[in-house]
Amino acid sequence: MNPRLVLAVACLVSLAGCAPMTKDRGFGCVRNVVAARAGLDVHWNQGTPAEAQVAERIRRVLSRSLAADDVVQVALLNNRRMQASYARLGIAQADLVEAGLLENPVFHVRPRWPDSPPTATNIELGVEWDFLQALMIPARKQLAGTRYEGVRLGVTHEVLTFVGQVREAYYTLVAAEQLANVMRVVAEAAEASYELAERMSEAGNVPELDLQNQRALYEEAKLEYARARLESLDARERLNALMGLWGDQTAWSVPAQLPEMPAIEASIVHLESAAIANRLDLMEAGREVEALSAALGITRNWRFLLFARIGIDSERDTSGQWLTGPELQVELPLFNQRQADIARLEAELQASEDRLTALAIEIRSEVRALRTRLLLTRQVVERYQAVIVPTYQRIVQLSQEQYNFMLIGIFHVLEARKEEMRTYRDYVNQVRDYWITRARLERAIGARLTENAGSADINIPAATDSDQGPASQQIPLKPEGSDP
């Protein structure tokens, strides 16, 4: 079992263990879960000395040909929108602290001057304190804790969703660059055809009609190539934005080809239940139900006693005599017995439960759809590899053999070569779809696919109290080259 996972699970299960007002605002939990789920580091830029290390690490990663995990890692460390969403942790934690604070007592002084003798000043002094709020603190703290946990789950979910987006953007880019190269070959073949037709035209061997037909094909191929280039530039810019890069940092490169599909497909059994157990947004929605349920409980329990103050009041009357005595103020629930608040909370609770169920159903459906798509896309890719691409290659080879024996012309062969490359383009699109589907499926199940993905990331062991450990340490930087 992955020790990080244990930590992450501990975070998830014993959120109370993350004491309020930690310096990292509970970010350590986010980091541990992301490490377990995505195998990657996150860093919250809070002006610590670790920043320099992070910047150096980004610089080093960017200097090599970027793999998907490299790009995701840089994005996690460097994307400012993600940094901004980490700040939600601070806000939520402030709410939690606030919920645990006693309300301050109220002091009042009230001097009064008589308009007829005796003319000594009447002074009234008093201290009041809303003791009911104090009695409610444990309940409110629990409620705020649940909400805080929800925010942390939400932030972590956001990180994992972001990871999925970056992966998609990465595969889109690698494919787009690969496709641009494929379309360049098509354009070159069309160019060669056109130039040959020009030479033939100069020699007086072809009518202008043939020449213009070749020209039209050439121009079309050039436009296709230009469009492919544009798409690759767009994809690159999207990734620059996701990785938070600008200026000199944008001179990174990715491999010329998409990675091969893994030879063995990840286990895809029990993915639905895995997703239900894993999805942090689902947990977040569950926390919302819990929070509303708690709020409803508090309101119900205290519906008749929502305002109760005790105090002490002392008054010096005009004769100089001090009158001192306790004070009690209680709201009499004659008319408003919090019926409206309770009804509102009941409705909200019902709505949150429905949302939770709906989300669970949607997750199951999404997982099923993506799983099917993954398997079908794999089949299509395998078909392209085993049959379709070799068929078009063979067609080129056979066309060339026919050309060699002067049975067909070279235009025919170049056309076959173009068709081969267009087929290869379709193949690249399918490989890209495979990887994107895989990234989406990982996002949908809230964990990486592995050979036994159905179970490994799911089992939640008993909580440990190790949560504070990694959070209080220096940011663990993975050594170079240890990426999965």
Partner: protein, 423 residues
């Protein structure tokens, strides 16, 4: 010389005997099936005539039974090598296309058993031979079709001499397109005035064997790509070896869909007969090219008086080439420098062809891969270089004082007798 009238009279006189023979014959009586191998059976001449040489082919042996010359012809599928490197799935007779040459003498009474081993019915028509109408072999018109597995017998007396042909007259379009045809030679009863020393029989045909395929396409009407002498293409064609001053006869039969002007180098010949009979000497004239029309035979004769290696070929130049595309772009005179390199980067091995003609093609084709079972369009090597031919092309080899008609190899040219470079 037999007149038509004589023939009809004599035909009627023996009609009874023919019918008696037919009634007697049964499939069990048929002679054993023989599939003579090319060049294995020597010319079947006797004292009165010189046997026919069928280049790349053979004559069909017969058996004599009660004074009747019996042959057993089997219609069947066979594989024919057109030239080394190309084998074609054909239909033919007795394991070959063209079927073995049938040789008889004028006056012979012949009984021809025909067994059908094809997957569909067939018949045999005896092209040019005068015979009773019921023996003429047009399926449906003269006889029932010979269904697969059946054996029919044809029986008639040969009243004429000359060069005739046999072929199906049932589903002709398919059966002839895939090679079913043969020559039927009838030698004259009376010795000729001019004794022949070498007597060749060559069937002309056309085929569409699409490059990369093995079976002729029977749906083609005009656009053929293989042109054959006895179902062979140059350089697969046997050379015609003769001795100087031999009187040579060459019999051409044409069951293709084109007329073929067959041209001989170094000699002039005369057409001495057609499938309609002999041409009297007064009507013969010398020429170097004989046009062999579709559905005809032509017998030409000449004295081989010029020693050497002489081309003998159809003069339609595309009939002396093997398969070539007809819709390829014309690259003659097209400078491909610069473009060729670009194409090569896309198609490794690309070779620009045709800028200064196609002469270089034979050398290119030898280095480059082509479609399966397809011959380069120009091929063959002689002692001075590429011959750049194909199809209906062979070599007439005239040699002094040879004692055998085995292939003597290339001609040893006397010193100083070959065109030479002087500039």
């Amino acid at each position: 010389m037999i007149t038509r009238r004589d023939f009809v009279t004599t035909g009627l006189a023996v009609g009874g005997a023919t019918l008696v023979g037919l009634q007697r014959a049964s499939a069990q009586d048929a002679p054993p099936i023989v599939r003579p191998k090319s060049n294995e059976s020597p010319p079947q001449g006797d004292s009165s005539f010189t046997g026919v040489v069928t280049p790349n082919g053979a004559s069909l042996p017969h058996v004599m039974r009660d004074g009747v010359k019996e042959f057993h012809i089997v219609a069947e599928a066979c594989v024919r090598e057109f030239a080394p490197g190309m084998e074609v799935k054909c239909w033919g007779y007795n394991g070959q296309t063209p079927g073995p040459t049938i040789e008889c003498n004028e006056g012979d009474h012949v009984r021809l058993f025909v067994t059908n081993h094809l997957p569909e019915h067939t018949t045999i028509h005896w092209h040019g031979i005068f015979l009773p109408s019921g023996m003429d072999g047009v399926g449906g018109l003269n006889q029932p079709h010979i269904r697969p597995g059946e054996t029919y017998v044809y029986e008639f007396t040969l009243r004429q001499h000359g060069t005739f042909m046999y072929h199906p007259h049932a589903d002709e379009m398919v059966q002839m397109a895939v090679g079913m045809m043969g020559l039927f030679i009838v030698h004259p009863k009376h010795p000729r005035k001019n004794q022949i020393q070498r007597d060749f029989a060559i069937m002309l045909h056309n085929w569409q064997v699409n490059p990369g395929t093995y079976r002729p396409d029977p749906s083609i009407m005009v656009e053929f790509n293989m042109w054959t002498f006895n179902s062979r293409v140059f350089p697969g064609t046997d050379h015609l070896v003769v001795r100087t001053v031999d009187r040579v006869r060459i019999r051409f039969g044409n069951l293709s869909m084109w007329n073929h002007p067959i041209h001989v180098h170094g000699h002039a010949w005369k057409i001495v007969a057609t499938d309609g009979g002999e041409i009297q000497e007064a009507g013969q004239w010398p020429e170097t090219t004989v046009l062999v029309p579709v559905g005809s035979t032509r017998d030409v004769e000449f004295i081989a008086d010029a020693p050497g290696d002489w081309a003998l070929h159809c003069h339609m130049s595309h009939h002396t080439m093997n398969a070539m595309g007809h819709a390829i772009p014309n690259t003659l005179g097209v400078d491909q420098r610069g473009v060729a390199e670009k194409i090569r980067s896309l198609l490794p091995g690309y070779m620009a062809m045709g800028e200064s003609g196609m002469a270089e093609h034979q050398d290119h084709a030898m280095q480059m891969a082509g479609p399966k079972n397809t011959l380069p369009m120009m091929t063959g090597k002689g002692q001075f270089g590429n011959i750049e031919m194909g199809g209906m092309f062979t070599v007439l080899k005239v040699r002094d004082g040879i004692t055998s008609y085995e292939d003597p190899g290339w001609y040893a040219f006397p010193a100083g007798s070959v065109a030479r470079r002087v500039g």
